[in-house]
């Protein structure tokens, strides 16, 4: 090489120094960025939210260990002066030395299984049988609005049929079905009771959407041809934004709804004021 060995190694030491410092600074900056801003997460507002957050913290803790550990090491390697004469010689394959790698990996595996186990519990609750007394609502996504349907006094949702969809009948409600007569249909607004499980059936009349409630920490896709579902128990009164999380076209960024969590009584009063879909315009 053109440069002398000595020049090269003093330059290497300088670069190594800068790299080591940079790696440690990045580590600190990343930790600070997370630490200083996690409180900006939407405050948890359902029973699942703290459980999901707990898993997040466990994974975060494990990640901090791995992240800091590796960067401390890399920074140290960069900062410590490169061997003057010769690198140490470790032949490529001495399985006994593999333990240096396999032991930490074993710990990672244990960590993996730990939060997988935690996750399965929440997952099982979320997809398992919802409580029998759930408050039921149905949501149908359309480009770019949420149609919110309540079953009315009979507690049953009436039939729908895509062939009946029109500007006047946005979800194709089939009024020949008696169960459909008292269904209440609203747009972009949903009221649910605090402290009682809420079951939301999700559908779409056109493309994919995803019904996303950030303070509840859950989302579920609306798939045309399917009925998917999500349930949760709201734990805090308030007005929350409903977001669409699946790209659904031009207006995707603006497909917004309002979720109101209030007393059961307030919800019932509010529902009583709504006109069933079948009686609209009469």
């Amino acid at each position: 090489m053109a440069v002398s060995q000595q020049q090269a190694s003093s330059r290497d030491r300088r670069t190594g120094f800068v790299l080591g410092v940079a790696l440690w600074l990045f580590t600190l900056a990343t930790l600070w960025l997370f630490g200083a801003n996690l409180h900006k997460m939407p405050p948890p507002a359902s029973d699942f939210a703290p459980q999901i957050d707990a898993i997040l913290w466990v994974i975060l803790g494990i990640s901090v260990i791995g992240f800091v550990g590796l960067h401390l090491y890399l920074g140290w390697v960069a900062l410590s002066r490169p061997a003057e004469v010769r690198a140490i010689y470790l032949p490529a394959d001495r399985p006994k030395e593999w333990l240096w790698v396999l032991v930490p990996i074993g710990l990672l595996l244990v960590a993996d299984l730990t939060f997988d186990h935690m996750s399965n519990k929440v997952w099982g609750a979320f997809f398992g049988k919802p409580p029998a007394n759930a408050f039921e609502v149905e949501v149908t996504g359309q480009q770019f609005a949420w149609h919110v349907r309540y079953p009315g006094a009979d507690g049953r949702f009436g039939r729908t049929n895509p062939r009946l969809i029109s500007d006047e009948n946005p979800i194709g409600l089939d009024l020949s079905d008696p169960a459909a007569r008292d269904d209440i249909l609203l747009i972009n607004v949903m009221h649910v009771p605090e402290g009682r499980p809420v079951m939301i059936y999700l559908r779409s009349r056109d493309v994919l959407h995803s019904f996303f409630l950030p303070p509840m920490r859950i989302k579920m896709d609306c798939v045309p041809g399917y009925t998917t579902r999500m349930w949760f128990t709201p734990q805090r009164k308030g007005n929350y934004e409903i977001a669409c999380a699946e790209l659904c076209g031009m207006g995707h960024y603006n497909m917004k709804g309002l979720l109101v969590v209030e007393d059961e009584q307030a919800v019932q009063n509010w529902l009583a004021q709504q006109t069933p879909f079948s009686k609209r315009g009469q």
């Binding site: 997988d116 798939v223 998917t228």
Partner: protein, 594 residues
């Protein structure tokens, strides 16, 4: 495969066109791939600049934008449908036309025959065809911006029904058809390439080059090609079905829906089928990138630590495990899609388990650095940056692979941060490291070290400052693929973040100019690589002239006596021992090098 001198002489008398344009020499084809893929990277980068402009300052009109894009940005503001086309083509060309093709068609193509001591690929004509089909794919994809309705706009995952009806989004007109055709061409190109790389690696190894003596770069491209052959055809089939749904009235993916004021009556279909077919490739695709990237980095780390790779066999085993696991975890992209929750739990566990082989490889590389005589050249800086990034990005993957937390994080900026750290950035770092490292071999000149170091520092700071904050925004509930963060109250606190991220993102994109300048300047004016083995490496590509002659070796192919990483042996005077240097006392009849 002895080649007669007659043949060698003949090769040199070929016409210019046969030699440099329609060449069947893997080195020329690789160079064509490298140039084309970098060109696509530039375009993808420019699209990224538009995305960051929109997210940072989308509420302010810019006369320049209107001048540049009279249709897409009337009034100086990017229109939502143009924005969606931009993110779709940005993602598509950077994942497929840049990174995939650069790693396999570019460096894989260049390195495999040289590293295994072969004279060329097993199927040189197929190799050439692969490049031309790829080039056609690039041209077709770019043309789609010019058609009515603009380029495809359903995201790089092109989920139906959005991608089926022009009434659903403007880009689902002709633009989407062109996207599918371009992808079909690209898949054909990767299959022709992949077949070649596998057969060549298995069959054309020179004398003594046993599998366990292969350099990690070759292994990486080999496993990527295996994954590609298993999974790309599935996407091709899926794309053909999507074309049929769009143009011939079938309904594989389409239930009866009501789109754009019209009933679209079908005989019933399932939109989730596409998601399965897409992610059956889409997930393995990220390992088609990660595994070769890991391979290249392995070679570079060994050379610049002057140490044998720690746990070579352990790494190969991990590659095998990753190859298998990568093909059975695609469901983690569908946790919230209505997938059967039991199956989702299996997908979740398998996904998290990928961290085991992945972590093993990273730790083996970290251990390789231990007590090495580290040389902080530009390629080595990018390699260490790579280690930092894969750890950061891989840990992000744990949050997403865990099904319950993905209920929250899916389709948020956290996902965008995750894959930009681990794929966009770390694979990019591997590509840069490979470019700085093998440039003297490919072009016979060095790239500038001082420009290279500046490029590294700005890029390293740029990627951390751009993509790590996205994780935090995602934890804050910021959705991905939204045209503007202004619509939601709860997102207002992130609006200034978007702006800061945009500033760093634009610096990051701007810093790549240093690379472009360095690349072209060095091509013509760089310091000459008179020494064929300037880094004092052991693998075979360094044991022939720079650039290597047609058919790679002189009269005879090299003979291999040992593994690729015999650095700093106590029993040798030099601190390296090339694979083809005969052991002391072995009588050699010319090993084809000198």
């Amino acid at each position: 495969m002895a080649v007669h001198a007659e043949h060698l002489a003949h090769a040199h008398s070929e016409s210019w066109i046969r030699k440099y344009v329609f060449s069947t020499d893997h080195k020329v084809i690789a160079t064509q791939y490298i140039f084309t893929a970098y060109f696509m990277a530039l375009l993808g980068g420019l699209l990224a600049a538009l995305i960051r402009y929109q997210l940072g300052w989308g509420d302010q009109a810019s006369p320049l934008l209107e001048r540049l894009f009279p249709f897409g940005a009337q009034g100086g503001v990017i229109k939502p449908e143009f924005y969606l086309a931009i993110i779709t083509i940005h993602g598509t060309i950077l994942v497929f036309h840049f990174q995939t093709m650069m790693l396999t068609g570019g460096f894989g193509n260049y390195l495999i025959p040289l590293q295994i001591g072969a004279r060329d690929m097993a199927f040189p004509v197929l190799n050439m065809l692969s490049y031309w089909v790829f080039l056609a794919s690039c041209v077709v994809m770019l043309l789609s911006f010019l058609v009515e309705g603009g380029a495809a706009a359903a995201g790089w995952t092109v989920y139906p029904p959005l991608s089926v009806h022009a009434a659903a989004v403007a880009g689902s007109g002709l633009g989407q058809t062109i996207w599918l055709l371009s992808m079909a061409l690209l898949i054909v190109a990767t299959l022709m390439g992949g077949l070649n790389y596998i057969v060549t690696t298995l069959n054309l190894r020179t004398k003594g080059m046993s599998l366990m003596r292969l350099p990690l770069s070759t292994w990486g491209v080999f496993f990527a090609s295996v994954i590609g052959l298993v999974t790309f055809p599935v996407l091709l089939a899926g794309a053909i079905l999507l074309l049929l749904d769009r143009h011939l009235g079938t309904s594989f993916y389409m239930p009866t829906v009501y789109i754009g004021g019209q009933l679209v009556e079908t005989r019933g279909g399932n939109p989730l089928l596409w998601q399965h077919l897409f992610w059956y490739l889409g997930h393995p695709e990220v390992y088609i990138l990660a595994i070769p990237a890991l391979g290249f980095i392995g070679d570079i780390i060994a050379t610049f630590s002057r140490k044998p790779i720690f746990g070579y066999r352990l790494i190969i085993i991990s590659f095998v495990v990753m190859t298998i696991l990568s093909c059975i975890v695609w469901g983690h992209h569908m946790f919230t899609s209505g997938l059967n929750p039991y199956i989702a739990m299996v997908f979740s566990l398998l996904t998290i388990l990928i961290s085991v082989p992945f972590g093993t490889i990273i730790l083996c590389y970290a251990a390789t650095l231990w007590k090495g005589k580290i040389q902080f050249t530009t390629p080595m800086l990018f390699a260490i940056g790579f280690l930092s990034l894969v750890v950061t990005g891989g840990l992000g993957g744990l949050f997403l692979g865990t099904a319950s937390t993905d209920l929250y994080l899916h389709d948020t900026a956290f996902v965008v941060g995750h894959f930009h750290v681990i794929m966009a950035s770390s694979v990019l770092f591997a590509i840069f490291a490979a470019t700085y490292y093998w440039f003297p071999k490919i072009f016979g000149r060095f790239m500038s070290e001082s420009l290279g170091k500046w490029h590294f520092w700005l890029t390293f700071i740029g990627v951390y400052a751009t993509f790590v904050p996205m994780h935090v925004m995602g934890l804050g509930g910021m959705m991905r693929r939204i045209y503007s963060p202004h619509a939601y109250q709860y997102l207002q606190q992130w609006v200034p973040w978007e702006r800061v991220i945009s500033i760093f993102g634009l610096i990051l994109i701007g810093a790549q100019l240093l690379f472009v300048v360095n690349f072209f300047w060095s091509l013509f004016k760089g310091r000459r690589a008179t020494d064929p083995n300037p880094w004092r490496a052991n693998t075979l590509e360094w044991q022939t002239s720079s650039p290597p002659p047609h058919l790679n070796w002189g009269e005879e192919q090299p003979v291999v006596y040992r593994g690729p990483y015999e650095f700093s042996r106590p029993d040798t005077a030099e601190d390296y021992l090339p694979q083809n240097t005969p052991p002391v006392g072995v009588e050699v009849s010319g090993n084809g090098v000198r």
